[in-house]
């Protein structure tokens, strides 16, 4: 099949450059329109109209905002550490815009010059690349907070670093469950494994998905985890002293993180570009050939890549990602903010042990299934779905009992127990006296 051969080196460079430019442009545009989406959805949730004056339905609002931010006068606080003050937003935005490179966004496209993979860089470390680079994002925030020479900004920076380190652990552990099941770290392979299992990983790994969503919310500093910029306590936290485009860069970084996290949720747990209930788009490598699946005799059926399938899978991937972006916005305008001690409590004392236990459970279940000789497929997935489902219900039940995170009233369960023991004690004393 000539059209599915690898690209020659010259074409590889040209196509690579086009993909870099294209993906970067789309991500930046998506980020711009996510700000509009946030404002319109929040308006809808609060029964307002939101920005609707610039262009039809307010569609040109992000462009107006961009122009405004570029031509605005910039202030430079006199007591700040100048170099680090400028470095802060730059360091914040860099990791945010490069992480999208390893996410596959559609099925491979056959062209006369060879096969074009719909991913900017299919690096062999896949998800580790994203984890490594997003762990650098904290420098921008911490430096911004420190260089501003402002108490609120400094507190915001400190909170950010503590929170991002804490939840990075939980995020990594929730991804480990996916790595165990996929047996690989590249995202392309993860999509392929979900197609081979004929089941999206959200079902066999439901608890890992919940941990991932919670940790991703905390990593992106979004409500209910926006401690670093808690308006009611810290003005706006680490970017209090920033104005104009530098301020804007923090927002671009935050929304790019949200976009990448949403795309990751779609890829790791919802089949990536896979179209549900249809095997025609399935494509994975089997013995050096791109195959769609196996017939009853176990022979490989060759895949049928085409422009139409690439476009359809692109739509599928975009729809899934857009849904998770919407989920982010929905959560932000629904839930109140955690207290700082609650954030730390949830990260270290709930998510970390629970995620560790869950890895042991999944690894044990997989070991038993492998020993029993169950082939990797839908049955394998359904058994894990049952186990994970039961664990998830148990976990949510436990979280819901008010024992994990006490509200402003303190920990109700502990208070009840204390009250009970006090009453019991005084009664005993009364009887003995």
């Amino acid at each position: 099949m000539h059209e599915m051969d690898q690209l020659s080196t010259a074409w590889f460079w040209i196509v690579g450059a086009i993909k870099v430019l294209g993906v970067f442009t789309v991500v930046m545009l998506a980020v711009a329109y996510m700000t509009l989406a946030e404002r319109r959805v929040s308006a809808f949730i609060q029964d307002r109209l939101g920005p609707n004056r610039v262009g039809p339905f307010g569609l040109l609002q992000p462009i107006a905002d961009g122009i405004k931010n570029i031509i605005k006068e910039e202030t430079m606080p006199g007591t700040s550490a100048k170099l680090y003050f400028v470095l802060g937003p730059a360091l914040a935005i860099m990791p945010a815009v490069v992480t999208f490179a390893v996410i596959p966004f559609a099925a491979p496209l056959p062209t006369p010059i060879g096969r074009v993979d719909m991913i900017v860089a299919d690096v062999p470390i896949g998800i580790l690349y994203i984890l490594a680079l997003s762990s650098l994002a904290v420098y921008g925030i911490v430096l911004a907070g420190w260089a501003s020479n402002n108490k609120y900004a400094f507190l915001g920076g400190l909170r950010a670093s503590a929170q991002m380190i804490s939840y990075e652990v939980a995020l990594g552990l929730s991804v480990i469950a996916v790595l165990l099941l996929a047996g690989n770290v590249t995202l392309t392979e993860m999509v392929a494994q979900q197609q081979q299992m004929k089941l999206w990983f959200v079902l066999p790994l439901s608890l890992a998905f919940i941990f991932f969503v919670i940790s991703a919310l905390a990593e992106t500093n979004r409500l209910p985890f926006d401690m670093p910029e808690a308006e009611s306590e810290l003005v706006t936290g680490y970017h209090t002293e920033y104005s104009a485009m530098k301020f804007s860069m923090f927002f671009i970084a935050e929304y790019s993180h949200v976009l990448t996290a949403s795309a990751l949720m779609a890829t790791l747990f919802f089949g990536g570009w896979d179209i549900p209930f249809w095997t025609g788009d399935d494509m994975f490598w089997h013995e050096g050939r791109l195959v769609r699946g196996f017939d009853d005799a176990g022979a490989a059926i060759p895949a049928t890549p085409s422009l139409l399938i690439t476009l359809l899978t692109l739509v599928s991937f975009s729809a899934k990602t857009a849904f998770f972006v919407f989920l982010y916005i929905w959560i932000r305008w629904t839930l109140p903010r955690f207290r700082y001690d609650q954030v730390m409590h949830l990260g270290w004392k709930v998510l970390l042990p629970a995620a560790l236990g869950y890895i042991v459970l999944i690894a044990g279940a997989m070991l038993v299934l492998d020993q029993l000789g169950v082939p990797f497929g839908r049955l394998y997935g359904l058994v894990l779905t049952g186990i994970s489902g039961a664990t998830t219900i148990a976990f949510l039940f436990f979280v819901d009992r008010d024992r994990v995170i006490g509200g402003a009233h303190g920990n109700r369960a502990v208070a009840r127990r204390r009250a009970a023991s006090r009453v019991g004690g005084s009664e005993r004393r009364a009887v003995s006296g």
């Binding site: 550490a81 680090y84 470095l87 690096v123 062999p124 470390i125 580790l128 690349y129 984890l131 490594a132 680079l133 762990s135 650098l136 904290v138 420098y139 911490v142 430096l143 420190w146 400094f154 920076g157 400190l158 670093s161 503590a162 991002m164 380190i165 990075e168 770290v185």
Partner: protein, 175 residues
């Protein structure tokens, strides 16, 4: 292309390392160190050791150095460090140690043959290449770690646990 990138990363790594030593502010030193670590990660990628590069950036640049930054910002604000930089016994010892390190590195470099391979190292490289294809980047490191060196690995884990417990005990206020 690989050579150009290698020279670029090498210059950034060495320049960053010099920056760590000569910077006057602790935060600048720290950022130089992060630069060096990231550049070394880049060199690992040129060696096709992707996994090592990711772990380097994830663990050292992304986690340990952030904790350093945390400590510098919380504890070292306004601390007068200049007295520590004066010439003394420490400088002499530092000079000796860095001289020895440079000597060892140079002796290793001199013994390389024309292809940049150490004497008796040609077979090892081929073996490693075969193993890499068979096990993958993560497996190359994980398999010896969990088979040949499992005792040492578990002992290091225990050591870290002891260190964490000790840190908690030290951090708790005495009652």
């Amino acid at each position: 292309m690989t050579e150009i990138l290698f020279v670029l990363f090498a210059f950034v790594a060495v320049g960053g390392a010099i920056g760590v030593v000569i910077s006057r502010t602790p935060v600048a030193s720290l950022l130089f160190m992060v630069t060096t670590l990231a550049a070394v990660g880049g060199i690992y990628i040129l060696f096709e050791a992707h996994f090592l590069a990711a772990i380097q950036v994830l663990v050292y640049a992304g986690a340990i150095m952030v904790l350093f930054l945390f400590v510098i910002m919380l504890l070292n604000l306004g601390h007068d460090y200049r007295a520590d930089l004066k010439f003394g016994l420490w400088s002499l010892m530092a000079l000796v140690v860095s001289g020895l390190t440079a000597g060892i590195l140079a002796s290793g470099f001199v013994s390389l043959d024309d292809n940049g391979i150490r004497p008796g190292g040609a077979g090892v490289a081929a073996e490693l290449d075969a193993a890499l294809i068979e096990k993958g980047a993560a497996g190359m490191i994980a398999e010896p770690l969990f088979t040949d060196y499992v005792v040492a690995f578990e002992l290091v884990g225990l050591l870290l646990l002891v260190a964490i417990v000790a840190a908690v005990v030290l951090a708790k206020p005495r009652t």
